[in-house]
Subunit: 256 residues, 2 copies
DNA sequence: GACTGTATGTTAAAAACATCACAACTATCA
DNA sequence: TGATAGTTGTGATGTTTTTAACATACAGTC
């Protein structure tokens, strides 16, 4: 059995079991633990798995998400976590909520309250996977073509499904927030989805860490006026904060 | 910091990282190894995580899938794996394939060839998650309401999207296979989806281990005649095997 | 104040695992 | 055939983790 074969089988095994001991693998492939060791060190160099004392853990992240997403995940993580925790604190029993794509959306999904029944509508595969694991949760995923970089599922039919669902709260993320030029995102197709999400909800909540402020991206999908609640961190400039506070019927939360 | 706080933070950490070493956790929470050890043993007793040498792994399964699915996963696993491996061996470069829901479908998704470009259409969330991790793979997920027991996404819009996609191969699973009463499934909504999948493909491939044979479930969605290829294991009865072989234009693979 | 139970930290020995160097094996090519 | 490079197994040695026993701290109770 060649090294390539072995690494393939190790991957297969990990895809099913997510982790393995060196013993297990050595026994399965009928080779010595040293061989396994050498195989897994090369696999770990490629980022496929992570070696810990006594075994290995499969590393979804290595291949799962586009490069961008994994970058977004670690950037401003602290602030994003705090924003997400604030966001989920607004959720009430029997709420129907829309969770937008993006790393902040993923954190909201992660921190969703366990104990109260809610309905969730989403269109990003990573978020769907997280929400599906929750008890007390009705889940609708609008389908479509899978975009690797944002993990969004996009199609006319999905958009239609989104338009026909109603939510009382929508947590919308953005790539750029500008008091003058409005809320923007990077991709064309996200515009339509975010726009539809905004139209389908009663209370619209913008979740964006301070690094997104004073940034302008090509896809304009809303203005600050269109949001009822804005959650960000204390890193935003005085001007932004003042400009938002000057608007009527708007709640601004700055965490951190 | 109380024990409850700590276990909550361990859970949060694992939700994001899926695994952790004892060192990591001890450092993060600034307590001794022994405290973490005691925390994780109580968490593992609750089934939240799994302790391995040197660390812990988050146990999605505890909360993720309906009872049924996890049962289906372990039942006839060997045969299912062999069937899945046979199934993926039929895939050629640039194929467009439909993968049906179910544990065998999940295994097919797992074993999908890495090195050739293919397109995949699916409607089960677990399968979507697996396929999304592949390189060289265009993915379409038909969306809809999430059914926990089968992990299928179902909606009229999703069905529409499925009908509008074309595949040259569809790998269809079944809960019951009878030479006289045809191919059946358990749920009403699955019928429509499986039927649509069959209509949208050139070559239809039935993947069903021998435990499904001579079983009849309420939802009839096709007859054996409707399939071009049947992949099962050597456990099926002589009569079944003979009856299928007697049909024209049909290929039967029995693995194991 | 002494008692009790729970939660946490410390320590040391035992067990499990990792690493290293070297020998044995395999395949390839001249 | 023999040289070479690459791969794999073995056993001695070093390291980390586990376990268990004991020490400490703190809150509630008699």
């Amino acid at each position: 059995m060649t090294k390539t074969e072995r690494t393939e089988r190790i991957r297969d095994y990990l895809r099913i079991n997510t982790s393995a001991t060196i013993q297990e693998l050595a026994q399965m492939l009928d080779v010595s633990h040293m061989t396994i060791r050498r195989d897994i060190t090369s696999l770990s160099e490629k980022g496929v798995l992570r070696i810990i004392h006594g075994g290995v853990i499969f590393n979804d992240d290595g291949h799962t998400d586009g490069y961008r997403m994994s970058l977004a995940r670690t950037n401003m993580l602290d602030e994003k976590q705090q924003i997400a925790r604030k966001a989920v604190s607004l959720i009430e029993p029997n709420d129907s909520i829309i969770i937008d794509a993006g790393s902040t959306g993923e954190l909201i999904a992660t921190f969703l309250p366990q104990d109260i029944p809610i309905s969730v509508i989403c269109y990003a595969l990573n978020i769907a996977s997280i929400v599906a694991q929750r008890p007390n949760c009705t889940l609708v995923v609008t389908g479509g073509y899978y975009h690797e970089s944002s993990m969004v599922l996009e199609s006319p039919e999905g958009l239609e499904l989104l338009k026909q669902n109603r939510a009382n709260k929508a947590f919308i993320t953005a790539s750029g927030v500008s008091t003058s030029l409005g809320i923007t995102c990077s991709n064309f197709f996200e515009r339509a989805i975010k726009h539809a999400a905004l139209k389908s909800c009663r209370t619209s909540i913008l979740v964006a860490d301070s690094s997104k402020f004073d940034i302008i991206k090509p896809g304009h999908f809303a203005d600050i006026e269109d949001f009822d609640v804005i959650i960000t961190d204390t890193g935003i400039s005085e001007e932004c904060s003042a400009a938002i506070r000057a608007m009527e019927h708007k709640r601004l939360f700055t965490v951190g």
